[in-house]
């Protein structure tokens, strides 16, 4: 179990993570969603013990991960910078990882090099952005670490490489279940792989729940403006738009069968809101300048 209590991370006057409390059960795939600057990387850096919390506590299996060598062997954190020597060739990078990682699967790493069509003799400094990301994914997956953290690991990958990444991630997770935390902006692409989603905004927790539950919260109601207005009264409206006499309102909050039947009887159409759209609605500014998430607290 990963437990964060009132976690705060600040850089001088800037507060990146602001009193965040979160419990993550082991063995699941989590999606960490947040806009740029929302505190995702700071949060993950503390989890991976790359930096110390400014306030609050972090515990992995009841133990503070900071400067804990045993926990760090079991944690892999793949981030933008890759944290490998730029002069090394890929084969050397993988060999080093194999020495450091107790669960490293060299055969699997080798197979992934072929999946991502990398050349073993190429130096890290000569890789394209997408190839660097592929190397990061290989380092992240082949480590088979009980806590695997991939921070926007897909950057620069083309659609085919991303698809390979998702397929390999799921296949390896099925064969070797472990805790995987993915931070991503490409939400719709991975939503089906995520058991739970964690949405943070301005360093604070907005949502943490099963992806299915989260998905069911968003519903778009379309119909004659008057009927839509009557139906949405008293509900949380994330956004509205009109086209002539027709209005579409995006609601936050699952509708039960009776609500849905009432809406249809009033001539309204109900449609799902994708996880990505729901996320955008929750974390974008409202017309009056406040965040919509504030209305949900």
């Amino acid at each position: 179990m990963i437990s964060l209590r009132d976690l705060t991370v600040s850089y001088g006057d800037t507060i990146a993570v602001d009193g965040l409390t979160l419990d993550l059960a082991p063995g699941k795939i989590y999606g960490l969603l947040g806009r740029n600057g929302s505190g995702k990387t700071s949060l993950l850096s503390v989890l991976a013990a790359y930096r110390k919390a400014s306030g609050g506590t972090v515990a992995i299996g009841g133990v503070d991960p900071f400067e804990n060598a045993a926990l760090m062997r079991d944690t892999v954190f793949i981030r933008d910078s890759l944290d490998v020597s730029e002069q090394d060739r890929i084969c050397r990078v993988l060999e080093l990882a194999g020495r450091l990682r107790p669960c490293w699967d060299a055969g699997y790493a080798d197979r992934l090099v072929d999946v991502f069509e990398l050349h073993r003799r190429k130096r890290v400094s000569a890789l394209s952005r997408g190839q660097r990301s592929s190397l990061g994914v290989i380092l992240g997956l082949a480590a088979r670490a009980p806590l695997t953290i991939l921070d926007e690991a897909y950057l620069g990958m083309d659609a085919a490489a991303r698809k390979a990444f998702y397929r390999e991630l799921l296949a390896d997770y099925l064969a070797h279940p472990r805790t995987i935390i993915l931070s991503t902006h490409l939400i719709e692409e991975v939503a089906d792989l995520l058991e739970q989603v964690i949405v943070i905004d301005h360093g604070r927790l907005v949502v943490h729940e099963d992806t299915d539950t989260f998905r069911a919260r968003g519903v778009a109601v379309t119909g004659p403006a008057g009927a839509v207005e009557a139906f949405v009264a008293g509900r949380t409206v994330l956004s509205q738009q009109s086209l002539g006499g027709v209005r579409e309102a995006t609601l936050y909050g699952a509708l039960d069968d009776a609500d849905a039947a009432r809406a249809r009887a009033a001539g309204l159409t109900l449609a799902p809101v994708g996880v990505q759209d729901l996320f955008i609605h929750l974390t974008s500014g409202a017309d009056d300048g406040t965040r919509r998430t504030e209305a949900l607290r």
Binding site: K28, I29, Y166, R167, L170, A171, L174, D192, L193, L194, E195, T211, D212, R215, A216, V219, L270, A271, P272
Partner: protein, 118 residues
């Protein structure tokens, strides 16, 4: 696969129900594991497991410990009777509503079904 407002686990459960109804899945036949479903549909295995759990609750599937999930002996009959009960509400009523809206009367519909002049 179905009403896209329904969660994926419900869609998985509905897909299995359809396979049982159509006879693609036979009674007492073992179904694929949650991991096989997850890999095939590229979804989290917990989602597939949730769909299976719903079908166990509804008596469509039964579990053999350590072996897997199987289709219940009476699953097909049970599903048929459930779907028959819903048939008029789910299929006929929406059709009649549409017919009223576009001015098709019941006689025309009956004639069409019986293969008469249109």
């Amino acid at each position: 696969m179905f009403d896209d407002r329904s969660p994926i686990y419900v869609q998985i459960a509905n897909g299995i129900k359809d396979d049982v109804l159509s006879g693609t899945l036979k009674e007492d036949e073992q179904i694929m594991s949650t991991n096989q479903y997850a890999a095939f549909y590229q979804i989290n295995p917990a989602t597939a497991a949730k769909g299976f759990a719903q079908l166990v609750d509804e008596g469509v599937l039964y579990k053999k410990r350590g072996i897997g999930m199987f289709v219940s002996p009476d699953a097909r009959a049970r599903l048929r009777s459930q779907r028959r009960d819903r048939f008029f509400v789910d299929v006929v009523e929406p059709m009649l509503a549409e017919a009223r809206m576009v001015g098709v009367d019941v006689e025309e519909i009956v004639a069409h079904i019986q293969g008469g002049p249109r």
